[in-house]
Point group: C3
Chain length 307, copies 3
C-alpha cells in the first residue's frame, strides 16, 4: 500500500487507513535501530531539510537520525543562524530551498498554519514538526504507535490528557488521532487552559485531574510552559502542581495497568512527580524510541515507499 | 581540461577560459540534482569545511548540498558557536583546520581579503563565499551561468546593475565577470552608493534607474541593507523605493525579453515589486538552482576533476 | 587486543596498557587522513552524538571529522540551540538521546563529573570531551601520542607544564597520563593558579617558569582564560606575560631539542610569544593532526574494534 499524500501537515486530515499504514510501516522500521549496522540504503541520494524556526533537541535530532538511518542527506537550518534575521519572508526562504531540489522539508514554526502554507506552494513534501498551538502530527503518531505496541490496539481505551490543553499542539494532534482510532479521550486542566468548545472535538472535559484519570488506561501529561506563570494564565507553578500534577496520591485512581506518557521535556515535580516519570508505568522513553521509527516511516512513505 | 588553480578567491583573477571551463562543468552537474538518486561518488572521502563568520542560509546550504551530492563529508562551523569567541586569530583557526586534513575550506568573512590571506597560508583549496564588500565569486558564476543558459551567451548583452553598488560584493564580482565575458554593464543607484572611479571597471554610471535599464537584456537588482537607513547613506526605505525600485512603471523601458535577477534575500517592495519578482521575467529561482551546480563544479574542479 | 571499557571519562582511571593500546591504535589511523580517499567503512551504520554544552571549534570539529572518516553518522547538539533552554535536566536529555539508539555520546560540559554521571546511567559509550576543570582525556591522549611520535617514548622525559594549573583540565589529564607513562613532570604558574596539594599527583612545583623549564624535553603551555583578569586571580595580562610567558629569553634554559606544545587556542604574546608558537620547536599543529587520529582510535575501540 502507498500513502497517496504529498505532505504530513496534521492528524486532522489523515484517515484511519492512513494512520494504520503509517503505524504499521513504523513498526517495521523499529528493528533497523537495533541492528549492529543501523542503516538501510532506502533514501540514498535524497535530501531532507530540517527547517526549524523554534529550538528543539529531540524532534530535530529524531528527524535527523531517522533520515540518516535511511541514508538520506540531511541539512539543518535553524532560525538563529539563517538569513531569517535579514527579514526574508518564510515563503521566499522556502521557495529558495525548493530551488535547490530537496525531497522533503521538515518545518517547525511558531505560527499555526505555516507548514500548510508551504505545502500549498512547494512541489516537495512538507512534514509539520510542530506549528504554533495547532498540530504536531509526528508526536501524535509516535504516541499512537507506542500505545498500540503496549496495549495491542487503541480502540476502546480510556485516555486522559492533562495540562495546558489550550496551548498544546501535542494535545490537539492526539485528540484528533485517538478519537479517530476509537479511544475515549478526556481532558483536564485549569479552566484558563481548557479551550471553549473543545467538546466538539469529541472529548469529555473534567475540571479535576482525579475525574479525568479515573479508570484511565493511558494518562498523557502535557508539558507546562513555565514562561506562562507570569502571564496570569495560572497563579504559580506550585499551585499548578498541587492541583494538576500526576503523583503517587492520584495515580491509584487509574487502572492498575495504566501507562503514563509525556512528550517531554519534563518539568519534574510540576506536571509529574519524578517517581512516576521513572517508574514502571512510564513509557516516556518508548515514545522517544518510537519517534525515530515513525519519522523513518514518514520519510519512506512520502518518497514513494510502499508497506 | 583542468582548472590550474588552487583557490577560487574572486572573479577578478579568473580568465575567460577559466570562467568558461567552470560554467561548462556546472552545466554538466545540473542534471545530477534532477535525478531520482541525486548523488555521485566523485568526492567520496573528501572533507569540505564551511567556515562562516557571517550568517547565511542560502549560500551555506547551497555549498552543503553541493558537497553532499558529490558524496563529500561536510563540516559546518559558524562563528557564533566557534572558539572565535575566545579570541583566536583567523589564521590560527585556519591553521588548526588545515591540520585536520580537509580538502577544501569555504569561507565567508566580513573582512575583505580574508579568504586571500588564508589561501596564501593553507595548502588546501579555499573558496571565497563572500568577503566584506569585496567579492562573492560563486554568486557571479551562478549569475553568469544563468544568463548563459537563458540567453545562449553573455557577449554583447546589455546588463544593468541597480542598487548599493558601493557596498555590494555581488556587484563587484559580476562587474568583473560580465565585462570580461563581453557584456556592456551599466550601474545605477543613489549617489552615496556609487563608488568613485567605478567607471575604471568598465561600466557606465547612470544617475537614474530609468537610464540604466533602458534597452537592458538583463536587470540585476541588489539587496538593500536596511540597516544602512540609519547610517545616513540614504534618507529612507520609502524614498529609496520611490527612486530606485524596479516596478511595473519602469520595467517597460527594458527590452521586451528582459530577464530580472536578484541575489536574494529580497526586500519585497523596496528594491523590487513583488509582481516583478514573481513574474515571467524573473529568473531569481533559476539562480538558486544553478548555484548548487556551480558549487558542485568548483568542488569538483578544485579536487582535480577534469571537464 | 580489545579495550575492555565502555567509556573514556578520564586519564586517571586508564592503565598504562590501555593508554598504550589507544596510542598504538591512533598511530595506525594517522595514515587514513593522508589518503586520497580519507574514509574507511569501519563505523558504517553507527551513530555518534556530539553533545556540547560549551562552545568549541577544534574539539567538536575533530570528533566530527574522526567519526565521518570512519563512516559513522554524526549528530551535533549544542546547548545554545537545544531544549536545554527549556530547563530539562542533563540526565533527561541524555536518557532521551539514549532512547534514539546512538552508539557513542561525546559530551563536553562545564560541570566536573557530568560525563561520569551519564556513563553510569547510559548503556551507550560516553567520551568526555572536557568536563569543567576536571579532565580532558582526549587532549592528554593526543598530547602523549605527539610526544611519543617525536621523542620515541615518554618514560624519562622531563615535561614542564606552565600556566593556570588550578583551572586546567588539560593539565590534570596530562599530569595523570605523563606521570603514569614515566615522565618527570614539573608545573609552574602564579601562586593563585597552583592548587594546594598538587604535589600528591607526583609533580614538582616551581614558583618561576625558569626553574620549571630548565633542561625540559617538553614544555606544555596552557591557555590563560583572559576572563580571569577581572577575577583577581592575576593582576593583569601584561604582568602575567612578563613573569610566565614562554619567549626567546627563557627558552634557552630548556634542552636544545625541546618541543613546545599548547592545547590551543593560543593567546599570542600572553602565554607564548608568536615566534616560538610558529618556530621550529613548536609541535602545536601536530597535536591537532594527531587529535583526529586519537579520536578515530577511541571511536573504533569503544565500538568493539581490536588493535
Amino acid at each position: 500500500m502507498k500513502l497517496n499524500r504529498k505532505d504530513i501537515l496534521g492528524i486532522q486530515e489523515l484517515s484511519v487507513e492512513e494512520i494504520n499504514l503509517i503505524l504499521e510501516t513504523a513498526d517495521s522500521f523499529i528493528e533497523v535501530s537495533t541492528r549492529e549496522i543501523k542503516k538501510v540504503p532506502t533514501l540514498r541520494g535524497k535530501t531532507v531539510i530540517n527547517l526549524f524556526y523554534e529550538a528543539s533537541t529531540r524532534t530535530r535530532t529524531s528527524f535527523e537520525i531517522a533520515a540518516k538511518r535511511l541514508s538520506a542527506d540531511t541539512i539543518n537550518i535553524s532560525a538563529a543562524t539563517s538569513s531569517v534575521v535579514k527579514g526574508e519572508t518564510l515563503i521566499d526562504t522556502a521557495k529558495n530551498l525548493e530551488a535547490m531540489n530537496p525531497d522533503i522539508i521538515v518545518i517547525r514554526h511558531s505560527a499555526a498554519g505555516a507548514p500548510h502554507m508551504l505545502a500549498g506552494i512547494l512541489r516537495q513534501s512538507v512534514i509539520n514538526a510542530g506549528d504554533g498551538a495547532h498540530e504536531h502530527p509526528t508526536q501524535a503518531l509516535l504516541d499512537m504507535m507506542t500505545i498500540r505496541a503496549k496495549k495491542g490496539g487503541i480502540a476502546g481505551l480510556k485516555v486522559a490528557i492533562v495540562g495546558d490543553i489550550a496551548h498544546s499542539r501535542v494535545a490537539r494532534s492526539n485528540i484528533h488521532g485517538l478519537t479517530k482510532m476509537g479511544a475515549q479521550v478526556s481532558v483536564s486542566g485549569p479552566a484558563t487552559m481548557i479551550p471553549r468548545g473543545i467538546e466538539k472535538m469529541g472529548v469529555v472535559v473534567h475540571m479535576s485531574i482525579e475525574e479525568a484519570i479515573r479508570d484511565a488506561d493511558i494518562i498523557m501529561m502535557l508539558r507546562i510552559q513555565t514562561e506562562r506563570e507570569t502571564q496570569n494564565i495560572f497563579p504559580s507553578l506550585r499551585e499548578y502542581a498541587q492541583y494538576f500534577s500526576l503523583n503517587r496520591k492520584n495515580i491509584g485512581l487509574a487502572r492498575k495497568d495504566v501507562l503514563i506518557m509525556h512528550p517531554g521535556p519534563i518539568n519534574r515535580g510540576v506536571e509529574i512527580s519524578s517517581d512516576l516519570a521513572d517508574g514502571p508505568h512510564s513509557i516516556i522513553l518508548d515514545q522517544v524510541t518510537n519517534g525515530v521509527a515513525v519519522r523513518m516511516a514518514l520519510l519512506y512513505l512520502l518518497t514513494g515507499g510502499t508497506s
